[in-house]
Amino acid sequence: MPNAIEVTDLVVDRGKRRVLHGISCAVPAGSVTGLLGPSGSGKTTLIRAIVGGQIVKSGTVTVLGRPAGTAALRAKVGYMTQAPSVYADLSVRENARYFAALYGLGAAEGDRAVADVGLADASGQLVGNLSGGQRSRASLACAMIGTPEVLVLDEPTVGQDPVLRADLWGKFHALAEAGSTLLVSSHVMDEAGRCDRLLLIREGRLVSDGTPAAIRAAAATHDLEEAFLRLIREQEKVAVR
C-alpha cells in the first residue's frame, strides 16, 4: 500500500521550545491511522505540519506525493482543527454550505455533510447555541465536505456521547474503504483499538508505529494503554543506559 502521508526527520520549534524532535512516520493510503499521545505531546503541531500550516525547522512532509501545503493539495486535504473552527454566528447549514462553496461544490454537498455527522435536525441552529459536542461535529462536517482524499482530524470525538462516537468511527472506516486516508488524533487510549494503524507520540518523539495487533504483541499485553506504558518505559531504560 503506498503512503498518503510521509514525514521524514521533522523538527519543529515553537518559540524557544522544540516541539517535535525529528519525527519520521508514514500514513498508508486508504487507512484510518490514529495519532495518539498525551496532551502537549506535539499531536496538533504534527497535524499542522501535515496540512501545511506550520513553519518547520527541518525535515520534510509529503502528502499525496507533494510537499505539504502545496496549492494543489488544498482541494484534496480536509482539516478539522482541535478547537471547533466554525462561525458561531452562522447556522450549521450556512457554515457547511460556505465551506462547500470554497471547494466549488453546491449547497447539497454542504447539507449532505451536515446529515453525515448527525446534525440534520440542528442544521438551522446557530453554531453558537449548540453544545460542545454538536459544535465539534459541525466543524467535522465542514472538514468532510467534498470527501477529500486525505482527511486530517484533530480530536474529532472529544465530548461526543459513546453511541455517536461509535457512529463517527464507523463513518471514518467507511470513508477509508471508499479510498480516503484518515489521520485522526486522540488523547484517549480506548479509541486506539478502532484504528488500522497507530502512531504514538510523546514529548515530541515517536514512541511506536504499527498496527494495534503488532503493538500488543510487541508489548506482550492485550491492553493498548498498558502496551504503550511498557513501550515508553522500555525506551526510557534504553535512554538511561
Binding site: 515553537r14 513553519i55 488544498r74 482539516y79 462561525y87 460556505y98 471547494y103 446557530l126
Partner: protein, 245 residues
C-alpha cells in the same frame, strides 16, 4: 483569486451580519441619529451645520467600518477559522475582497440612510449631488475596512484591536480639516495631514459642498483614497500567512 470564492465569502459575511440584528440596526440608524444631534447643536449657527454634517457623512462610515472589520477579522484569527480557511482553496485576496465588498455594501446602505436623512430631514445644503456624497462615504467605508483588516494583524485581543482607533483613526480625524482648516495649521501638521487618506476624503466632500458639478479635484481625491485602500489591502494580504510559527 477566484470570483466565485470571493462572492461566497461576501455572502457569508453578510449572513453573519444578518444574524446580528442589533448590529444591523445600529449600523443603519446611528449615523443619522448623530447627525440629528449635530443639527440641534448648530441650529443657530447657519452654514456651520452644512460643513460639519457633510464632513461627518464621510467620517462615520470610516470609523464604524474600521472598528467592525478589525473585530471581525480578529475573530477569524482567534477562533481558528482563518487557519482553517487558509488550508482550503480560498486565496488571501478572496478573503480580503470578500470583507471589502460585504462591508462596502453595508456602508452603501448606511450612507444612503444617513445622507437621505441629512438632506430631507435636516435640510443639508450642498451645491453638488447627494449621490456623490454617498459614493464618497462608501469609498471611505472601504478604506476603513482595509485599514481594519491590516490593523487586526497587530492585535492579539479585542482590547488591543480597539486601541488602534486612537492610533490610526483619531489622528486622521483631528488633522483632516474638520477642527482647524488645513491652511491654518502649522506647516509640519499640514504635511502630516497631506499624508493621511482621510484628508482627501474630507476634501472631496468639501468639493461636493462647493461645486454643482463634480470637480477634477474631487475625482483626484477619490482616486487617492481608493489608492490608499488598495495599498492597505495589499499590506493586509502580506500579514496573512498560510504557515505560522
Amino acid at each position: 483569486m477566484s470570483l466565485r470564492i470571493t462572492m461566497a465569502t461576501t455572502a457569508r459575511i453578510l449572513r453573519q451580519l444578518r444574524h446580528d440584528r442589533r448590529t444591523v440596526a445600529l449600523l443603519a440608524v446611528m449615523p443619522a441619529v448623530l447627525l440629528t444631534l449635530l443639527y440641534f447643536m448648530y441650529e443657530k449657527a447657519g452654514p456651520t451645520f452644512d460643513r460639519i454634517a457633510l464632513t461627518m457623512l464621510g467620517i462615520f462610515p470610516f470609523v464604524i467600518m474600521f472598528l467592525v472589520t478589525s473585530i471581525a477579522m480578529l475573530r477569524e484569527r482567534t477562533t481558528g477559522t482563518l487557519e482553517r480557511l487558509l488550508t482550503t482553496p480560498l486565496g488571501k485576496l478572496d478573503l480580503l475582497f470578500g470583507y471589502g465588498l460585504a462591508f462596502g455594501l453595508a456602508a452603501a446602505v448606511q450612507g444612503t440612510v444617513a445622507t437621505g436623512a441629512a438632506y430631507w430631514l435636516l435640510d443639508l445644503q450642498t451645491r453638488g449631488a447627494g449621490g456623490l456624497v454617498v459614493l464618497i462615504a462608501v469609498v471611505n467605508a472601504v478604506l476603513g475596512v482595509a485599514l481594519g483588516l491590516l490593523c487586526s494583524a497587530f492585535a492579539r485581543t479585542e482590547f488591543q484591536a480597539v486601541q488602534f482607533l486612537p492610533v490610526v483613526v483619531v489622528p486622521q480625524i483631528l488633522l483632516c480639516g474638520l477642527f482647524v482648516p488645513r491652511g491654518q495649521m502649522a506647516s509640519w501638521l499640514e504635511a502630516i495631514s497631506d499624508a493621511l487618506p482621510l484628508t482627501y476624503a474630507v476634501d472631496a466632500l468639501i468639493q461636493v459642498g462647493r461645486s454643482a458639478e463634480a470637480t477634477t479635484t474631487m475625482w483626484r481625491d477619490l482616486v487617492i483614497v481608493a489608492g490608499a485602500t488598495v495599498v492597505a489591502l495589499i499590506l493586509a494580504a502580506a500579514t496573512l500567512r498560510r504557515r505560522t510559527p
